[in-house]
């Protein structure tokens, strides 16, 4: 029964290939092409592989290390135990397995990194495109605001914001998102200006296209690849910033994050005690994730750039 169903569909398609479905096939094809050239970047593949692995670990954390791994009252070990077969990375000051915490920490770091980058990119893209598309005073005002944010030392502003709001993961996300968008906005604006200078924009306007038509149909798709590459870079720095804020004690102390673990380790005196198994893994984890995103971003950028012609 099902076979006949599947057979009819392909026979229909070549007869009357709706432009839409063909376009979709076309999109798939260009994705495949993208993937082919992406595959050529060995470091990008490494980054992607690591990311997928870490994402899986984060998603299946409760299955992997048990859902009570973060509990202090049910902590299985003694305080600050060294690595052993039971605790491959030792325990923290409450006797919880550092490895298990590391696994849980991935959730926060990835969530914060992704959401903060999304926030930053969303704000930055909208403002950048609008400021680049329109001329006149509102563009000037937007760019002044952007410049203002840009001159604020990012970390200083993020710390200030995290201090002003109450300690939670959302605060950190907002603090990072709100302080990093100007970079994206500037980049998007520059790219918008260069796209707007292309003749096809003139053509679209001569065809009667409105501002929103030009911005959504022409500028946005041409800015997106750049933004995509930029996003991965932002994720990586958002993860670092999250760790920094957590390290400064500006995140929610009841949530386990890698930066928070480092802070806990330091507060517990792991540095003096030389408890490397507590101190080293969170830092390495942060570095690996940040590096993975950066590698992916660079690979994406170099795949997209030649066609984009940003530089030409």
């Amino acid at each position: 029964m099902t076979t006949t169903d599947t057979e009819t569909t392909p026979t229909e398609t070549p007869k009357a290939p709706s432009a839409r479905s063909l376009a979709r096939a076309r999109k798939r094809q260009s994705l495949a092409r993208f993937w082919r050239s992406y595959r050529a970047h060995r470091s990008g593949l490494w980054g992607l592989g690591l990311l997928i692995l870490i994402a899986l670990i984060a998603i299946f954390a409760p299955v992997l290390v048990g859902s009570d791994a973060q509990s202090v009252t049910d902590a299985p070990g003694g305080p600050m135990e060294g690595p052993s077969s039971e605790f491959p990375l030792g325990t923290d000051q409450f006797g919880r397995s550092v490895l298990a915490l590391l696994v849980y920490g991935a959730r926060v770091s990835l969530t914060v990194g992704l959401l903060a980058a999304f926030l930053c990119v969303a704000i930055g893209t909208v403002i950048g495109i609008v400021a680049g598309h329109f001329r006149g005073w509102y563009s000037t005002v937007l760019m002044r605001v952007t410049d203002w944010f840009l001159v604020m030392p990012t970390l200083v502003l993020a710390i200030a914001l995290a201090t002003v709001m109450d300690r939670s993961m959302w605060t950190v996300i907002i603090a990072i998102g709100v302080t990093t968008w100007p970079t994206t906005a500037r980049l998007v604006r520059a790219q918008t200006l260069s796209v707007e200078a292309r003749p096809y924009i003139e053509r679209a306007r001569a065809l009667g296209g409105s501002h929103s038509h030009v911005m959504t149909r022409h500028v946005l798709p041409n800015v997106m690849p750049l933004v995509l590459a930029q996003t991965t870079m932002i994720i990586s720095s958002a993860i670092l910033t999250e760790a920094t804020l957590a390290f400064l004690g500006l995140s929610d102390p009841t949530v386990t994050s890698w930066g928070g673990m480092l802070q806990d380790a330091r507060e517990a005196g792991a540095v003096s005690a030389g408890d490397w198994w507590y101190l080293a893994p969170p830092g390495i984890a942060i570095a690996i994730v940040a590096l993975s995103f950066t590698l992916c971003g660079r690979a994406v950028e170099s795949v997209l750039n030649p066609k984009l012609g940003v530089r030409s």
């Binding site: 432009a19 063909l22 376009a23 292309r198 679209a204 001569a206 065809l207 009667g208 409105s210």
Partner: protein, 344 residues
């Protein structure tokens, strides 16, 4: 509004599909520089079914004029009239105007969004104007009319998969899909290979013949004008200095500038007149005849002989009318024309 007041003008341009009337376009100077009078008083009519070539050297204001005719630039003074009605710059009105008048740009690679397929590029106009009929059908038609056959083969290509000539055809198809009455083509073949050019020009001619399309072709290539245009307008520093039927203007140019332009063509007979100096600067338009500083006729004393040298330097010339008659804005030609008329 002021219907009564406009009536005489409407009747004046009644024959023209599109006409420019005392058009001035001025760009503010950057960082304290003087403003640039890119278009400095132009009258030009384009009749239905007519191909007009606008020629002139770089920076003389051809593109600015073309853009103003399309409503992409607002004239500083003067007005554009289409089908007897002055152009309305309200966004709704402009949109419907742009359905009837289309633009084709010099660089076909740049005129196509690299992320849109051929189908999308051609259908864009339909979508903007909320076309209700069969979009696919319309796109196919336009593509085949532009010489891309069978059209289906090209639907899903991206611009970078097409050759330059094909791209320009796609751009033209994108313009044709809305059934326009007039096409403004700004150097439509300048970026194409010599061997491909002819095909595109032939297409424009065919469209005129088949659909009665009018066209304004902006170019700096006089050979192109000879190839396809009915009428030619020679522009210098923001103003049309000579206009008339192609056969007249290109075979017996009256204006020294036109003469110079023709003389430097490789196959032109006689000694080429190479004008010295740089392309003129629209932010510093000289008084008198705007060409006098570079004018070979003035320089070699022929103007003096004709007794117009002073006029050349000091007396402004009137704006040529947009009508189809042969006209020239030159003191020397005005004086000399009588002479030659006599001698003949």
């Amino acid at each position: 509004m002021t219907e009564t007041l406009q009536t005489p003008e409407v009747s004046k341009n009644a024959r023209a599909l599109l006409s420019a009337d005392q058009l001035h376009v001025t760009f503010p100077g950057r960082r304290g520089a003087a403003e640039a009078r890119a278009v400095d008083g132009v009258d030009l009519d384009i009749a239905p079914g007519e191909i007009v070539a606008l020629v002139g050297e770089s920076g003389c204001g051809k593109t600015s004029l073309a853009r103003t005719l399309l409503g992409l630039e607002k004239p500083t003074t003067g007005k554009v009239t289409f089908a007897g009605k002055p152009l309305d710059y309200a966004s709704k009105a402009l949109k419907s105007y742009r359905k009837r008048v289309q633009l084709v740009l010099q660089d076909p690679s740049g005129s196509l969004n690299p992320r849109h397929t051929v189908y999308d590029a051609v259908a864009e106009g339909l979508r903007i104007h909320g076309y209700t009929g069969d979009e696919r059908e319309a796109v196919s038609n336009a593509l085949s009319r532009a010489g891309l056959r069978p059209p289906e083969r090209f639907f899903l290509r991206y611009p970078h998969e097409l050759s330059g000539g094909q791209r320009q055809r796609v751009v033209i198809a994108g313009a044709l899909v809305l059934d326009p009455e007039l096409i403004v083509a700004d150097e439509p073949v300048a970026s194409l290979d010599a061997s491909v050019r002819g095909e595109i020009l032939a297409l424009l001619l065919r469209l005129r013949d088949e659909l009665g399309l009018s066209a304004l072709v902006v170019t700096h290539d006089l050979g192109l004008a000879w190839n396809i245009a009915d009428r030619v307008a020679v522009m210098y520093l923001g103003r049309i200095v000579e206009t008339g039927r192609v056969e007249d203007v290109l075979t017996s140019p009256q204006h020294p500038y036109t003469q110079a332009l023709l003389s430097v063509l490789p196959e032109a007979p006689g000694e080429p007149v190479v004008l010295t100096g740089e392309p003129p600067d629209p932010s510093r338009i000289p008084g008198g005849c705007r060409f006098h500083a570079r004018c070979q006729v003035l320089a070699d004393g022929r103007a003096d002989e004709a007794g117009v040298a002073d006029a050349c330097r000091t007396v402004d010339l009137p704006v040529l009318t947009g009508a189809a008659t042969s006209q020239v804005a030159c003191h020397w030609a005005a004086a000399g024309a009588e002479d030659s008329g006599d001698s003949r």
